[in-house]
Symmetry: C2
Subunit: 218 residues, 2 copies
DNA sequence: ACAAAAGTGTTGTCAGTACACCCATGG
DNA sequence: CCATGGGTGTACTGACAACACTTTTGT
């Protein structure tokens, strides 16, 4: 029966992470350039093999940290899907890939020290290693679905304090469509997930905007 | 870097399958009694370690076939989630579990030869091995969500030909709530996923019911 | 003729959408 | 005083929910 459990040749298990951020008013993903075969020099999602004594969420965090030079504590992440159909996905060993997506407030990205990410718009990706293009498309679909169902994930992409217009911009960038200002505000406010701060954002030659933050902190 | 890829001690990867079926007007899951440690003799979901040269969907099918004696070709299945946080989940080796759920028309279950499943109502489960109780709860949640969004998965639990009342019963059993007959029919028919057969189901002392089948076959 | 399930339409309610004007500020 | 984005309310529309009676059959 199963008692040969120690005998099976085990597939490798990797975690790949799609890190989304809003940069230059675009939804971008963090990619790294591969430094080894297969797909040497191609861009790819940061990934890492799951160590024997490593919970898979830790693997995701380590991938972000080691491959991208990002502090994983400022990233919200969730499991997306596990790809394990294609035996030849990785040419070295048979690999099963558990894919996470992550959301980061781009202000928290340290563009100096050791940051290895290149940020590409999800709508303008280079040809990536493995099946990473398809994986990103899938992740984007899921993210859009969550946003459309008003699951409160967008604030993971926002700074702590923000105006309603900034939040709306984030929604619009993800969904890739314009939203109505009044309807957006009505809907987002009636969910009671925001608290209005007693501050205004004074910026530009116009009426100052009220600042909000999410009630449930990260 | 990663070049020690052949050196890592690899976690085991298993696939577990939650097989749902409607029996005795109840939503039930197929469980097997474990024949080995850990959790010897406890009931559990059918599962199997992923072999090196085995796509994970094949692993799911093999689990159904070998552990449950079910022909996997008559089962619709989809990936649910991958559990890989708990290092001590399986006491033998560190195991990551990719969980699938499956739907079967219970008329296709062969209760004779070699069928090892015991069927338990999802609302009345025994204490199961590993974290399988929690996994089933999670699967049920996802199934309900799909049904509520009118994703057409219910017909995987139905025979080829069925009446609208029978289909509605399936919805009601899964959701565990009564639905309005007229609203249900309106909603299901306007989706154009059913074709009305030129047959009636003559049964009982009452007006015969029209038979339907799904347009998109399995 | 009766019991039992099949089949069928209308109305009210609520959420979502569309839409236009005044407000506060800096220069 | 003007340009700029911030901020606000109402009316329409379409989807969903509630609800009751007639039809067809076997006995």
């Amino acid at each position: 029966m199963n008692t040969d459990i120690f005998e099976f040749k085990r597939p490798g298990v990797a975690v790949d992470v799609i890190l989304f951020g809003i940069l230059d008013k675009n939804l971008k993903v963090g990619l790294i350039q591969r430094e080894e075969e297969p797909h040497l020099n191609k861009y790819a999602l940061p990934g890492r093999f799951v160590r024997y004594e490593e919970p898979i969420e830790d693997t995701a965090k380590m991938a972000l940290k080691l491959k991208g030079g990002i502090n994983p504590e400022v990233v919200f992440s969730e499991q997306l899907y596990t790809f394990g159909q294609d035996l030849k996905r990785d040419t070295r060993i048979r690999t099963i890939s558990i894919v996470y997506y992550g959301l980061i407030d781009s202000q928290k990205i340290d563009f100096q020290s050791g940051n290895k990410f290149k940020w590409y718009s999800v709508y303008d990706l280079p040809q990536l290693a493995f099946d990473h293009n398809a994986i990103i498309r899938y992740a984007l679909e899921r993210l859009c679905k969550k946003i459309k169902e008003w699951e409160d994930v967008a604030f993971q992409l926002m700074p702590k304090e923000f105006t309603l217009t900034e939040l709306q911009n984030t929604y619009e960038i993800i969904l890739n469509e314009k939203l109505d200002k009044r309807n957006f505000r009505k809907k987002i406010l009636e969910q009671n997930i925001l608290k209005e701060l007693k501050k205004k954002k004074m910026e530009g030659v116009h009426r100052p905007a009220g600042l909000f933050s999410f009630i449930r902190q990260r």
